[in-house]
Amino acid sequence: MTVPRSSYSVFAIAFAVTFAVVYSIAVWKNYALFTYHPATNEFGLGVEKPREGGLAMYWYGWMATAGIAASVASLAACYLPQRLTSRLWPGLSWAVPLAALVFFAWLLKGYFLR
Protein backbone atom coordinates (compact mmCIF):
# COMPACT_ATOMS: atom_id res chain seq x y z
CA MET A 1 0.00 0.00 0.00
CA THR A 2 1.29 3.49 -0.77
CA VAL A 3 0.51 6.46 1.43
CA PRO A 4 1.69 10.06 1.21
CA ARG A 5 4.43 10.77 3.72
CA SER A 6 5.38 13.96 5.49
CA SER A 7 8.92 15.24 5.02
CA TYR A 8 9.72 14.45 8.64
CA SER A 9 8.50 10.89 8.22
CA VAL A 10 10.77 10.41 5.20
CA PHE A 11 13.69 12.02 7.03
CA ALA A 12 13.23 9.88 10.16
CA ILE A 13 12.99 6.58 8.26
CA ALA A 14 15.87 7.44 5.91
CA PHE A 15 18.05 8.59 8.82
CA ALA A 16 17.57 5.37 10.79
CA VAL A 17 18.40 3.33 7.69
CA THR A 18 21.36 5.28 6.32
CA PHE A 19 22.95 5.84 9.71
CA ALA A 20 22.84 2.13 10.52
CA VAL A 21 24.35 1.22 7.14
CA VAL A 22 27.06 3.92 7.09
CA TYR A 23 28.01 3.40 10.74
CA SER A 24 28.37 -0.35 10.18
CA ILE A 25 30.63 0.24 7.17
CA ALA A 26 32.59 2.95 9.02
CA VAL A 27 33.34 0.58 11.90
CA TRP A 28 34.06 -2.37 9.63
CA LYS A 29 36.48 -0.47 7.37
CA ASN A 30 37.56 2.09 9.99
CA TYR A 31 36.35 5.22 8.20
CA ALA A 32 36.61 7.56 11.18
CA LEU A 33 36.25 11.25 10.42
CA PHE A 34 38.61 12.02 13.27
CA THR A 35 40.61 10.28 15.98
CA TYR A 36 40.57 11.08 19.67
CA HIS A 37 43.66 10.51 21.82
CA PRO A 38 42.34 10.32 25.39
CA ALA A 39 45.74 10.20 27.10
CA THR A 40 46.68 13.62 25.72
CA ASN A 41 43.12 14.91 25.11
CA GLU A 42 43.97 15.64 21.46
CA PHE A 43 42.05 15.20 18.22
CA GLY A 44 43.41 14.37 14.80
CA LEU A 45 41.72 14.49 11.43
CA GLY A 46 40.94 11.11 9.89
CA VAL A 47 42.33 7.82 11.15
CA GLU A 48 45.54 8.28 13.15
CA LYS A 49 47.75 5.81 14.97
CA PRO A 50 48.10 6.10 18.76
CA ARG A 51 50.39 8.93 19.82
CA GLU A 52 53.25 8.56 22.29
CA GLY A 53 52.45 4.98 23.17
CA GLY A 54 48.90 5.86 24.22
CA LEU A 55 45.73 4.69 22.58
CA ALA A 56 43.55 6.05 19.79
CA MET A 57 39.74 6.15 19.93
CA TYR A 58 37.80 6.01 16.67
CA TRP A 59 34.27 5.64 18.08
CA TYR A 60 33.50 9.37 17.98
CA GLY A 61 34.92 9.58 14.47
CA TRP A 62 32.73 6.70 13.26
CA MET A 63 29.68 8.45 14.71
CA ALA A 64 30.64 11.70 13.00
CA THR A 65 31.13 9.94 9.66
CA ALA A 66 27.75 8.23 9.91
CA GLY A 67 25.96 11.29 11.33
CA ILE A 68 27.04 13.59 8.52
CA ALA A 69 26.43 11.03 5.77
CA ALA A 70 23.01 10.07 7.16
CA SER A 71 21.95 13.71 7.63
CA VAL A 72 22.85 14.61 4.05
CA ALA A 73 21.23 11.47 2.60
CA SER A 74 18.06 11.89 4.69
CA LEU A 75 17.65 15.55 3.81
CA ALA A 76 18.12 14.65 0.15
CA ALA A 77 15.46 11.92 0.50
CA CYS A 78 12.96 14.58 1.63
CA TYR A 79 13.22 16.16 -1.82
CA LEU A 80 12.46 12.95 -3.69
CA PRO A 81 9.15 12.87 -5.57
CA GLN A 82 6.10 11.86 -3.54
CA ARG A 83 5.51 8.84 -5.80
CA LEU A 84 8.86 7.43 -4.58
CA THR A 85 8.68 8.37 -0.90
CA SER A 86 5.14 7.02 -0.59
CA ARG A 87 6.57 3.56 -1.30
CA LEU A 88 9.05 3.84 1.56
CA TRP A 89 8.26 0.98 3.98
CA PRO A 90 8.19 2.36 7.56
CA GLY A 91 9.43 -1.01 8.83
CA LEU A 92 12.86 -0.19 7.40
CA SER A 93 13.32 2.11 10.40
CA TRP A 94 13.64 -0.93 12.68
CA ALA A 95 14.58 -3.73 10.25
CA VAL A 96 17.84 -2.16 9.05
CA PRO A 97 19.02 -1.14 12.56
CA LEU A 98 18.17 -4.67 13.74
CA ALA A 99 20.28 -6.06 10.89
CA ALA A 100 23.09 -3.74 12.03
CA LEU A 101 22.95 -5.24 15.54
CA VAL A 102 23.28 -8.72 14.03
CA PHE A 103 26.14 -7.50 11.84
CA PHE A 104 28.04 -6.22 14.89
CA ALA A 105 27.49 -9.51 16.70
CA TRP A 106 29.09 -11.20 13.68
CA LEU A 107 31.88 -8.62 13.41
CA LEU A 108 32.85 -9.05 17.06
CA LYS A 109 32.38 -12.82 17.23
CA GLY A 110 36.13 -13.24 17.79
CA TYR A 111 35.73 -12.00 21.36
CA PHE A 112 33.27 -14.79 22.14
CA LEU A 113 34.97 -17.65 20.28
CA ARG A 114 38.42 -17.43 21.92
Binding site: F15, P38, W94, A105, Y111, R114
Partner: protein, 155 residues
Amino acid sequence: MTTVLLIIHGLLAVALLGAITHQVASVWLPARKPAGSFVGRFRSVPGASYTNAIIVLYVCTAALGGIAIYPEFRLSVRPALEQLGLWKALGAFDLKEHFTVIGLATLPAYWHFWRQPLSEQHARTRAALTALLAFIVWWNFLVGHILNDIRGFGS
Protein backbone atom coordinates in the same frame (compact mmCIF):
# COMPACT_ATOMS: atom_id res chain seq x y z
CA MET B 1 34.63 12.59 39.81
CA THR B 2 34.30 9.71 37.36
CA THR B 3 32.70 7.59 40.08
CA VAL B 4 30.07 10.30 40.69
CA LEU B 5 29.36 10.50 36.95
CA LEU B 6 29.14 6.71 36.77
CA ILE B 7 26.57 6.67 39.58
CA ILE B 8 24.49 9.37 37.84
CA HIS B 9 24.82 7.38 34.58
CA GLY B 10 23.56 4.30 36.42
CA LEU B 11 20.61 6.14 37.98
CA LEU B 12 19.56 7.55 34.60
CA ALA B 13 19.85 4.05 33.15
CA VAL B 14 17.57 2.65 35.86
CA ALA B 15 14.92 5.28 35.07
CA LEU B 16 15.27 4.57 31.34
CA LEU B 17 15.02 0.82 31.91
CA GLY B 18 11.80 1.25 33.88
CA ALA B 19 10.23 3.57 31.33
CA ILE B 20 11.06 1.50 28.25
CA THR B 21 9.98 -1.73 29.97
CA HIS B 22 6.62 -0.17 30.87
CA GLN B 23 6.18 0.99 27.30
CA VAL B 24 7.19 -2.27 25.63
CA ALA B 25 4.86 -4.20 27.96
CA SER B 26 1.99 -1.83 27.14
CA VAL B 27 2.56 -2.41 23.42
CA TRP B 28 3.25 -6.15 23.30
CA LEU B 29 1.14 -7.32 26.26
CA PRO B 30 -1.64 -4.73 26.57
CA ALA B 31 -4.11 -5.25 29.40
CA ARG B 32 -7.53 -6.15 27.97
CA LYS B 33 -9.52 -5.48 31.11
CA PRO B 34 -9.13 -3.30 34.21
CA ALA B 35 -5.96 -4.43 35.92
CA GLY B 36 -6.03 -5.69 39.47
CA SER B 37 -2.60 -7.24 39.85
CA PHE B 38 0.82 -5.60 39.89
CA VAL B 39 1.71 -7.18 36.53
CA GLY B 40 -1.63 -6.12 35.08
CA ARG B 41 -1.16 -2.53 36.16
CA PHE B 42 2.42 -2.61 34.83
CA ARG B 43 1.04 -3.55 31.38
CA SER B 44 -1.88 -1.14 31.33
CA VAL B 45 0.04 2.15 31.34
CA PRO B 46 -0.55 4.60 28.44
CA GLY B 47 2.61 3.88 26.46
CA ALA B 48 2.66 7.12 24.51
CA SER B 49 3.10 9.17 27.68
CA TYR B 50 6.58 7.65 28.16
CA THR B 51 7.96 8.60 24.75
CA ASN B 52 9.52 12.00 25.45
CA ALA B 53 10.91 10.86 28.80
CA ILE B 54 12.50 7.82 27.13
CA ILE B 55 14.11 9.97 24.44
CA VAL B 56 15.50 12.47 26.97
CA LEU B 57 16.74 9.71 29.27
CA TYR B 58 18.32 7.77 26.40
CA VAL B 59 20.17 10.82 25.07
CA CYS B 60 21.34 11.92 28.55
CA THR B 61 22.45 8.42 29.54
CA ALA B 62 24.31 7.89 26.25
CA ALA B 63 25.93 11.33 26.35
CA LEU B 64 27.08 10.96 29.93
CA GLY B 65 28.42 7.46 29.31
CA GLY B 66 29.95 8.19 25.92
CA ILE B 67 31.51 11.58 26.57
CA ALA B 68 32.27 11.76 30.29
CA ILE B 69 32.97 8.14 31.27
CA TYR B 70 34.03 6.18 28.16
CA PRO B 71 37.53 7.74 27.73
CA GLU B 72 38.32 6.92 31.36
CA PHE B 73 37.10 3.37 30.76
CA ARG B 74 39.42 3.03 27.78
CA LEU B 75 42.40 4.38 29.71
CA SER B 76 41.94 2.75 33.11
CA VAL B 77 39.58 -0.22 32.93
CA ARG B 78 39.89 -1.82 29.51
CA PRO B 79 43.67 -2.49 29.72
CA ALA B 80 43.11 -4.32 33.01
CA LEU B 81 40.35 -6.45 31.51
CA GLU B 82 42.63 -7.29 28.57
CA GLN B 83 45.41 -8.34 30.93
CA LEU B 84 42.95 -10.59 32.74
CA GLY B 85 41.87 -12.08 29.40
CA LEU B 86 38.20 -11.27 29.95
CA TRP B 87 37.44 -11.24 26.22
CA LYS B 88 33.74 -12.07 26.45
CA ALA B 89 33.18 -9.11 28.79
CA LEU B 90 35.15 -6.85 26.46
CA GLY B 91 33.19 -8.08 23.44
CA ALA B 92 29.91 -7.50 25.25
CA PHE B 93 31.01 -3.96 26.05
CA ASP B 94 32.05 -3.29 22.44
CA LEU B 95 28.57 -4.44 21.40
CA LYS B 96 27.12 -2.04 23.97
CA GLU B 97 28.89 0.94 22.43
CA HIS B 98 27.70 0.06 18.92
CA PHE B 99 24.15 -0.80 20.01
CA THR B 100 23.92 2.55 21.81
CA VAL B 101 24.75 4.47 18.64
CA ILE B 102 22.35 2.46 16.47
CA GLY B 103 19.62 3.11 19.06
CA LEU B 104 20.35 6.84 19.04
CA ALA B 105 19.83 6.96 15.28
CA THR B 106 16.39 5.34 15.56
CA LEU B 107 15.11 7.97 18.02
CA PRO B 108 13.77 10.37 15.33
CA ALA B 109 11.69 7.53 13.84
CA TYR B 110 10.67 6.28 17.29
CA TRP B 111 9.45 9.78 18.22
CA HIS B 112 7.59 10.11 14.90
CA PHE B 113 5.70 6.84 15.20
CA TRP B 114 4.74 7.53 18.83
CA ARG B 115 3.49 11.03 18.03
CA GLN B 116 -0.12 11.70 19.08
CA PRO B 117 -2.66 10.88 17.76
CA LEU B 118 -1.25 7.37 17.37
CA SER B 119 -1.65 5.98 13.87
CA GLU B 120 -3.21 2.50 13.89
CA GLN B 121 -1.60 1.94 10.49
CA HIS B 122 1.87 2.15 12.08
CA ALA B 123 1.15 0.06 15.16
CA ARG B 124 3.54 -2.73 14.10
CA THR B 125 6.35 -0.31 13.30
CA ARG B 126 5.82 1.40 16.65
CA ALA B 127 5.88 -1.92 18.48
CA ALA B 128 9.00 -3.14 16.67
CA LEU B 129 10.91 0.10 17.24
CA THR B 130 10.00 0.02 20.93
CA ALA B 131 11.12 -3.61 21.24
CA LEU B 132 14.40 -2.80 19.48
CA LEU B 133 15.10 0.08 21.85
CA ALA B 134 14.08 -2.04 24.85
CA PHE B 135 16.52 -4.76 23.80
CA ILE B 136 19.34 -2.20 23.45
CA VAL B 137 18.56 -0.59 26.81
CA TRP B 138 18.43 -3.97 28.60
CA TRP B 139 21.65 -5.16 26.93
CA ASN B 140 23.47 -1.94 27.80
CA PHE B 141 22.23 -1.96 31.37
CA LEU B 142 23.22 -5.55 32.06
CA VAL B 143 26.61 -5.30 30.34
CA GLY B 144 27.43 -2.02 32.10
CA HIS B 145 26.44 -3.55 35.40
CA ILE B 146 28.54 -6.68 34.81
CA LEU B 147 31.59 -4.64 33.76
CA ASN B 148 31.26 -2.49 36.85
CA ASP B 149 31.04 -5.62 38.99
CA ILE B 150 34.20 -7.00 37.39
CA ARG B 151 36.20 -3.84 37.82
CA GLY B 152 34.48 -0.68 38.98
CA PHE B 153 36.16 2.68 38.81
CA GLY B 154 38.58 3.27 41.62
CA SER B 155 39.17 -0.44 42.23
